[in-house]
Assembly symmetry: C2
Homo-oligomer: 200 residues x 2
């Protein structure tokens, strides 16, 4: 007998092992957890997968995931319509919402410029962003891309593209993470913290 | 707006966050992976969960998970029926099968004695084990429980229970893991390796 499980168990393990962040051991652990759980909760998990796939769509305005288009943020009359925060992915919207510091609108690009993966500006929702900027309402675009190579390239590209427009274009501050130790900061982060120093 | 996603997305994240080894960030990452994947593979994952739950049962003889009872190992005429390996969980059967060193039968206890979690000998498949030992065929019981407190307690308990029977009762060797460094071995493991030393 080969060292694999009977059909349905192995198929379940294989299905979980394909998900991001789950290795073969983790997939096995999850599969046995499901086999040990009651039938109802296993069915709930299966239903949640199918329901999310069926119900979820992308907002026609900002590109965020939602069940109604336009999404609740784009529809909310209390949001500040003069500022648009540009992010890479829908999950970045949630990260910024959690801070409670931002009350404007969003624009999800759907990624960042990454020549190694053949993602160019044409693959991102940049025309949709320019169309939104055509109205008088928007006074500021806040670029909130990931602080890595792809995010920096996209920030630079958008900075040049939006520069000629009559808008304030800003980006998130780089510097030391709150609660961290100066001693353990890498040189680039510490350099950014110095060049971006502020008056007390 | 609260910092949660629209209904179906949040339900999917919550469903995954309940699985072992998956935290809130990991659950979010998996949920967005599924939303980005094609509908077919999301449906396959949902189907695998339901199918495994429906098809999988426990072998009436050894307690291993299987689609047919008795399981393929218990039914296999080439297995050595004179030795039974006692393990805690079905996944332990697979770990021992992968070594290719064992050709006997198994008995899955369904856990280990753990007073902290209110698991006593009565909660394990020990009566089923004793019933199997009633036949003349079985000459040896090999205890292969986890080398932790619960596994040791169960090994001790079973050792006393099976001692009076006309059987060889063995346990897995403790010692240094192959490929490891003597310098980094903990004192208990190194102590076991010394007390269990063998002649060359």
């Amino acid at each position: 007998m080969a060292a694999t499980y009977d059909g349905a168990i192995q198929e379940l393990i294989d299905a979980f092992a394909q998900l991001p962040g789950i290795g073969p051991k983790g997939a096995q652990r999850i599969a046995f957890y499901i086999l040990g759980a009651d039938r109802r909760s296993a069915q709930d998990l299966a239903d949640a997968i199918v329901a999310a796939k069926e119900k979820v769509r992308f907002c026609e305005i900002c590109g965020n995931v939602c069940e109604t288009s336009p999404c609740p943020i784009c529809q909310d009359p209390r949001r500040d319509r003069s500022i648009i925060c540009v992010v890479e992915e829908p999950k970045d919207v949630m990260s910024i919402e959690r801070t409670g510091e931002y009350r404007g609108l969003y624009h999800v690009l759907g990624g960042a410029i990454d020549p190694m993966s053949n993602v160019g500006p044409g693959d991102l929702r940049i025309p949709e962003l320019l169309k939104r900027l055509g109205t008088d309402q928007v006074k500021e675009v806040m670029l909130a891309l990931d602080p890595n190579i792809e995010g920096e390239a996209t920030t630079t590209y958008l900075g040049r593209l939006l520069g000629p427009l009559d808008l304030r274009v800003t980006r998130l501050a780089s510097g030391l993470p709150v609660g961290s130790d100066l001693e353990y900061a890498d040189e680039i982060t510490l350099g950014r913290a110095i060049s971006g120093r502020r008056d007390l």
